[in-house]
Every structure is written in C-alpha cells, then in structure tokens.
C-alpha cells in the first residue's frame, strides 16, 4: 500500500504543492514499517490488521446467518453445517470480533494515529511499547489462527466453565491467544494514559482536550485496570484444563459461578472499552459537520469518566439467573440503571450541538447520524435487561443478541466507519469517494436494522441464543434477519470500495477538508513524520467558527490571521469566565 501511495504522491507533486516529507514517504522498504516507532505507521498497521480480523469475523457471521435460514427437524437433520460446525461459527464470530476487532479497533488503530496529533505531541510516550503492543496483537492473532487449524473452538466467546474445561476443542490455544491480546490492550492503554498526562504541549489543558481524547483516556484507564483480571482468569482456566487444578470445575471442588464473576469483572468493563471511544468519535463528528461548538463539553467529558468508573460495578448483571443471591442482584441492577444517565446525557448533548447548526451530509456525518439512531435503540433496550424481572425472561435470548449488536455494531462499528471516513484524508492524503460513501452509510443503516430488529422480537417471544436449530414459528423472522445481514454485508463492501478507491483515484486532501478545529487538521495531509515542527498553538478545540471555506483550495482555512488571534483571545477570556464557577 505504501509504495502505491508514494508513486501517486509523486505524480501529483507537479500540481503546485511543494514536495513534502510525510510519514508515508519517510523511510522506505518493509523494515521501515516493521520496525517503525512512528505512532502513525503503527496505527496504519493496526488498521490493516483489525480490518482483516473484521473481515474474517464477518465471513463467519454471514455463514451462521445462512445456516439459520432453515429450521431443522431434530438433531440428525442438517441444512448446511452440522450442529458442531454451527457452534464453532458463532464462537469464532464472537471471539474474533471481540478480542481481535472491537477492543483494539478504535483505540489501537485510529487512537494510535490520531491521539498524539490531536494532543499536539510528536508521538506517544513509549513508542517501543507501542510497537510491542502491535506485535503482541499479531502473536495473539496467530494463536487464534493456530486454534482454527487445531480443532477450532466451540465454547462461545465467554469460555464458561465447566463446558470450556471439558470440551475437546482447542480451548487452551484460544485462551492463551486472548491472554496475549490482553497484554497488547494493556500496553496501548498504559501508553495513552502516560501520553495524555505528560506530553500535552503548552496551552493544552485538560479542558482543552478534544472529547475524543477524553474518551480514549477513559478507555485506557479501563484497559489498564480491568484487563489484568482477564489475564488471571484465563491463566486459571488454562491451569484447570492442563493441570487439573480445581478452581471452576465442581467435579474438582471448584465453582463454575466464580468463573463467571471473574470473567465479567473484566468483560463488562470491556464493553466500555468498546463503546467509549465511539462516543469520542461521535462528539468530534457531530460538532464538525454541524459547524457548531460542542454543547456541554464538561458534561460529556465527565460522563466518559463516570461511565468508565461505573462500568466496573455492574458485572453481575450478566448473572441474574445464575443463582446468585437476590441482594446482589438488587445491587447490580441498581448500579446498572445509574450508568444509563451519563449515556443519555451524551445523546442529548449531541442533539443540542446540532441545534441551529449547518448540517453537512458528508459520509462521516451520515454514519454519525446513524449512530445516534442505532445507539439510542441499543441503549434503551438495555433498560428491560437491567430491570430484574424482565431480565429473567429476556436473559440468553435473541433480545440480548440484538441489544449488544445495536450497541457494539450499531454503536462502535458505525462510529469506527464514520471515524475512518473522517480521518481517511488525514491518514492517506486523499479523499474517499463521497457518493459511494453516503450510499454505503444508507445501505449499512437499513441492512443493520433489518438484521437485528427482528431479533428483538424473536428474543422477547423466547427464542434462545446460540441455537443452531429453532422452532418453525421463528422462521420468517430469521429469514428477514439473514436478508438484512446480506444487505449489511453489501453496504460494508461498498464502504470499503469508497475508501480504497480514494487511495488510488481520490482527490488530494487539503490539510483541513472538514473545517474542524482540533489540532490534527493543522498539519498537512498526510502528516509529516514529526507531526509538528514547533509546538502548535492550542485553543478551544471546538472554535469551528474561526474557520472559513476557501473554494479555491477546497479546504477550510483560518479567518484572517489577526482576526483569528483576537477572537482566540476573546474566546479564552469567555471560556475563563464561564468555566470559573
């Protein structure tokens, strides 16, 4: 990819732009990528890696949706896959999507690229640790591949004991892969925390940080604090399977519910590792494409931190039917409800930001608008799952499947796509295909709803999840869901075409194609190797009105320098005035 970009880049040089050193042309050859310490190159490598994982997980999703086109008559009746093959499909889909795609998706791929530039820094605090984190991801992914060829995995991505300690599939390989991926995640989180604390340039105060950075910072806290618990849990699982030490298996004196507590103590906070960065992305997109200052900056920033903290205290809401005491169920239900408040605040604030704006329908905004719609459904359907009596009915049904897909896919994936279109010009110096991008957003939105809305209805009626076979009464809903999944798949392919087309044929991107006021748009597209030659001037990240569109350059440029300065002064004064109390 790099060489193609370089040649194209060279082609365009004579068009009047000064030859310019950027991170893509700075150093050539395989080793200049493989051994790079540049956060931007590491981000690009991460992006290729997580997108490959997404493709693989998506293929598994298509296969399992295809199998569900037909109800079957008894255990011997087979449509396309045997029962065991189906069980592997949903396990692999879940495990790959969670561990290899969603968790590293926004933070490690986009966060790595954007965070230091947005912060005004030259790189992350520990560039070598950053590269190490990428290679740990690769090693973890290799273990997953090894697992695929040595018997697969059929435990569900949750590895519940004693099933996971008794099945004959390659559980130890998969679990060890997840263990390594956990370290990759910890290293990224640690790096971001230290970077945000120590590498802010003069003027970049905490409350001048863009909300994407607040979100990534909150995510990083969760990654560092929660992931070690997963590591310990997975090691204990390996110890039980290989050495026969009784920790979780009742036959050896262990307790299977203990595993669930350990597992969800990580995996519920992990839900916020997956969604918080998406919130950050949406805050950036809504403000930029509405041409409005973000509404309620502090409420949004604090709500990210609140979600990160509360996210640690709700894990047992996954276990309301496990037989835990009624008192603990009560406590976890109550805390679960409180987490809905900071989430609702964000949605209201995004809407208020759009109020009286100038709303563009560029592709990133199309995805952001789809996000608000889908994530609202995802969030609201969390309420009957947090309500104790209704959760008993809905637990482990398709209602839960639909709920977390609306959050994880309708939320995180849609935000990931929006972010990809938004930062694509910055990352590769070329614009994507706008019309195709918009079409992809519409198809993805329609296909997504067609796939997952029927699953809410099936779940409420009582269709259990992880079923290879189902009662004939659900047939029509399953067919609708599968057709939706194919539509969704087509939409995603179109999105990929719109982006990749841009690499080859796209217009050269200006430094600031969107009129955003955060720092990454101050450096060229693609950014130079060092991001900034001198520490950038830091102002209000949402002072969007200071940028005007220049049709000659098809780019947004600052208003007359002097006006900008005086306005920035004024802005600083008003900010100081309003934030003082």
């Amino acid at each position: 990819m790099a060489t193609i970009l370089e040649t194209r880049h060279a082609d365009v040089m004579p068009l009047g732009h000064a030859p310019q050193d950027n991170y893509l042309t700075h150093g050539r050859g395989f080793l200049s990528w493989a051994l790079t310490l540049d956060h931007k190159r590491i981000g690009v490598m991460y992006l290729c890696a997580v997108c490959s994982a997404f493709l693989l997980g998506g293929i598994f999703a298509m296969l399992l949706r295809t199998e569900l086109l037909m109800p079957k008559n008894g255990p011997e009746d087979v449509f396309l896959f045997t029962r065991d093959a189906y069980n592997q499909l949903f396990t692999l889909h879940g495990a790959i999507m969670v561990f290899l795609f969603i968790i590293p998706g926004i933070p490690a791929a986009l966060g790595n690229f954007i965070l230091p530039i947005m912060l005004g820094a030259k790189d992350v605090a520990f560039p070598r640790l950053n590269l190490c984190s990428f290679y740990l991801w690769l090693v973890g992914a290799l273990f997953f591949v090894l697992m695929l060829v040595t018997g697969g995995l059929d435990t569900g991505w949750t590895f519940y004991t004693p099933y996971s300690t008794s099945t004959s599939t390659a559980v130890v390989t998969a679990v060890f892969g997840a263990f390594i991926l956990g370290f990759s995640s910890i290293f990224t989180g640690l790096n971001f925390i230290v970077t945000v604390h120590t590498m802010r340039p003069p003027g970049m105060t905490w409350f001048r940080m863009p909300l994407f950075l607040w979100a990534i910072y909150s995510t990083a806290l969760v990654q560092v604090l929660a992931t070690p618990v997963l590591a310990i849990t997975l090691l204990l699982l390996i110890a039980e399977r290989t050495l026969g030490i009784g920790i979780f298996d009742p036959a050896l004196g262990g307790d299977p519910v203990l595993f669930q507590h350990f597992f969800w103590f990580y995996s519920h906070p992990a839900v916020y590792i997956m969604i918080l960065p998406a919130f950050g992305v949406i805050s950036e997109l809504i403000t930029t494409f509405s041409r409005k200052h973000i509404f309620g900056y502090r409420f949004i920033a604090y709500s990210s931190v609140a979600i990160a903290i509360l996210g640690f205290l709700v894990w047992a809401h996954h276990m309301f039917v496990s037989g835990q005491s009624a008192i603990s169920a009560m406590v976890f239900s109550a805390i679960t409800f409180t987490i809905s408040i900071p989430t609702a605040i964000k949605i209201f604030n995004w809407l208020a930001t759009m109020y009286k704006g100038s709303i563009s329908y560029a592709t990133p905004m199309c995805y952001a608008l789809a996000f608000i719609f889908l994530f609202t459904i995802g969030g609201l359907t969390g309420l009957p799952l947090g309500t104790l009596s209704t959760d008993i009915h809905l637990h482990d049904t398709y209602f839960v499947v639909a709920h977390f897909h609306y959050v994880m896919m309708g939320g995180t994936l849609i935000a990931f796509l929006g972010a990809l279109f938004y930062w694509w010009p910055k990352m590769f110096g070329r614009m994507y295909h706008e019309r195709l991008g918009q079409i992809s957003a519409v198809i993805v939105f329609l296909g997504f709803n067609a796939t997952f809305f029927p699953q809410f209805i099936m779940g409420a009626k009582g269709m259990p999840r992880r079923y290879a076979n189902y009662l004939p009464e659900y047939h029509a809903w399953h067919v609708a869901s599968t057709i939706g999944a194919y539509t969704l798949g087509i939409g995603l392919v179109i999105a990929a075409i719109a982006l990749i087309w841009g690499l080859y044929r796209g217009k050269r991107a200006p430094a600031n194609p969107w009129g955003s006021a955060t720092l990454e748009w101050q450096c060229s597209s693609p950014p130079p190797h060092n991001n900034f030659d001198a520490p950038p001037v830091v102002g209000d990240p949402y002072a969007i009105h200071q940028l005007v569109y220049d049709p000659d350059q098809s780019a947004w440029v600052p208003r007359q320098e002097k006006i900008v300065e005086s306005e920035a002064m004024l802005e600083r004064h008003t900010d100081a005035g309003t934030t003082g109390h």
Binding site: V257, F337, I341, S358
Partner: protein, 366 residues
C-alpha cells in the same frame, strides 16, 4: 386498533407482537414491568428521533443558511435532562426488583419436582418416583423445581411462565412458578451446553384439576404394562444405573459390569461369597452396603422405597438378560408384562383413560 393492540397493549394475558401469552402468576407482573419500560423507551426514542430528524431537515447545509451561534452549555437544561431520567429509572428499578423478589422466593406449600439436566436431555422426577422427559404440572398450584446438572451448566426456560434459572453442576438451584392456564408449552435450555444445545427442548404440560394425578397413574400403568426386560432397560438409562455400570461397552466404570452379574460367583469384601441370583440383585439394589464386591468402592446408594416391585422385577430381568448364558432363559421367563403378577395393585384395564390429551403428551419417550 388491532395493530395497536398487537404492538403495544394486548388484552391481559394474550400474546402480542413482543411477548408470548401469559401462563403463570408472575407473568403479569413481568409484563407490566416490560410495558412500563417499553413505553418510557418509546417516548424517549420518539423525542430523540423527532428532534434529530427535525434538526437534520431544518438545519441542513444549504445556500442562504448559516449556522447560528448558540450557548456552549446550559447548566439548568443539562441538569434537567439528567434528573428527569434519573427519577424514571428509579421507578423501573423498583418495579423490576419487586417482581424479581416474588419470582425468587418460593411459597411454603409447594409441589416439588426434581429436575436433572444433562447433555442433551431433561429428566423430571415426580413425587411418586415417575421419571419423565417432559415437565408436567398441575394448574393453580405452586410448583418448585429442585434442579441439578450431571455435566455442564444448563438453564431451564419456559417463556409463557416468564421464568428462567441456570442449573449449575455441583449445587441445587431452585425455580418456582404457579401455572394458570392448562395447555402444552415449550421448555428450552438457554445456557449453551454443546453440540445439541438447540435440541435440548421439551414440553411443559399444565394439567386441568385432577389431570396431573391421572397422568401420573397412567405413567405407572405404562410401567406395569411393559415387558420386564424393556422396563429394566428404561430404568437403567433413566435412573442413574448407567452412570456406574457398563452394558454393551457403554456406561460408567465405578461399579461392576452387568454382563457377569447374574449366575456367576462373587467375592465380597467381608470374605463371604455368593452366586448372583434374583435375591442377590434385589439385595444389592435395596441394601447395597450389605454385600460389597471386592475391587469396587462401597458407593452404591440404596434405592429402597424408590422402586416398585414391578420395577425391581424389571431390573432383575434386564440384568439377567445381560449375561449371554441366561439371555434366552430370561426372555422366556419374563415374557409377560411386569405388572401382570401383581394385578391386585394395578388398575384394571377398563379403568384406563382414553389417552386423549395426556396420551399425546407422553408419546415422545425417546
């Protein structure tokens, strides 16, 4: 109007687009909580989407429109939209918690059924010892399920009752309900348990008053009418013998294989010896610790009071037939139904119900 009812406000207990019909006392309370959350969510969703769509239209970027400067924050407004949802979620939480407490605390006077879940079948053991793969319960009676698992975690779910409970190996989990509507409903395993998880489904049959007792008698009737060897085979598979005793190369290895039990001389741990005959088998079932074979642990539980005479005869016939030398003799000897010899206990044939609703429900024996 019909559409509205289907979407939102079904008549009490009926199925809607969302929920299945109600057939237990707790279902109404669960559904009330559901509709409360549903309507609150619908209103919030409508507010958000209407605002979003209106803004998307009214403030779309176009010639002649520029963005207007508005406040960057508004503390009273933000406080309002934080506090109002906070109050609403308190109502939801309380409603859900109170309903949950009712579901979790079984009343004192319950009709208890033991449930054993295993990959991938259910055994329901009724108070009179009948074991059946379907859940049968009387209507309008508090029923408590005492549930355990032989292998991995399973979960018992009856959608029309709105109840669900995991079944965790190594402990007993309880589930109670009071069925309000006679009929046949689905019962499903909802905790992933391997290959045939999606086939681990059976029926729940709620009987009219008196129907439960009649159904249980019919099952005993069935037992009495079975050829003894067949009955013994069924008991061997259903009542746990196969966990320890091997037959045809399948089953557990804790206890002796049944191939050599009948007709061979056995050495016991107290030094005595005996030939395996009808009395030996009977004694081993009723009072197993009296004669423990050397080389085997004294772990066999007693089945005293758990088997009827006909069932013991069935077990003896089955075990005898496992020894190839006695197979033909056993088949001759035990040709007649197991209950035949104790006609006094069994109901006369003329008393048999016509096998209407209950007969159909019990057809799925394998």
């Amino acid at each position: 109007m019909t559409l509205f009812r289907l979407l939102a406000l079904p008549a009490a207990g009926e199925a809607s687009l969302w929920l299945p019909e109600q057939a237990s006392t707790v279902a109404a309370s669960v559904d009330e909580a559901w509709w409360l959350v549903y309507w609150v969510s619908a209103v919030f969703f409508a507010i958000i989407v209407v605002a979003q769509v209106y803004f998307m239209w009214a403030y779309r970027r176009r010639a002649g429109w520029t963005e207007q400067k508005t406040a960057h924050h508004n503390f009273p407004l933000e406080l309002t939209w934080s506090i109002i949802p906070s109050l609403i979620i308190v109502v939801m939480f309380v409603k859900g918690f109170l309903g949950f407490l009712d579901m979790r605390m079984p009343p004192a006077d319950t009709y208890d059924i033991t449930v054993v879940a295993r990959k991938w079948s259910w055994s329901f053991i009724y108070p009179n010892g009948v074991v059946h793969p379907e859940l049968h319960v009387p209507v309008d009676r508090n029923v408590k399920l005492v549930m355990s698992s032989d292998d991995v975690i399973h979960s018992l779910f009856v959608p029309v009752f709105r109840v669900k409970q995991d079944i965790v190996p190594g402990r007993y989990n309880y589930l109670w309900f009071n069925a309000t509507k006679p009929g046949t409903y689905d019962l499903e395993c909802t905790e992933y348990c391997g290959t045939n998880h999606s086939e681990m489904r059976t029926k729940t049959v709620v009987h009219e008053p008196g129907g439960m007792e009649r159904w249980l008698e019919d099952r005993i009737e069935d037992i009495m009418k079975m050829p003894p060897i067949e009955l013994g085979t069924l008991l061997y598979n259903q009542r746990g013998c196969s966990q320890c005793h091997m037959v045809d190369g399948k089953g557990g290895t804790v206890g002796p294989k049944f191939e050599q039990t009948f007709g061979n001389r056995h050495q016991f741990t107290d030094g005595s010896q005996a030939v395996g005959d009808e009395n030996y088998i009977r004694e081993s079932v009723m009072n197993p610790q009296a004669q423990v074979r050397t080389g085997f642990p004294p772990t066999m539980p007693t089945y005293k009071g758990l088997f009827r005479e006909a069932e013991i005869r069935g077990l003896i016939a089955f075990i005898k037939s496992q020894n190839p030398k006695f197979k033909a003799e056993a088949e001759r000897e035990y040709a007649k139904p197991a209950g035949e010899t104790e006609a006094g206990d069994a109901s006369p044939d003329s008393d048999l119900p016509d096998g209407g609703a209950n007969g159909a429900a019990s057809a799925d024996e394998n």
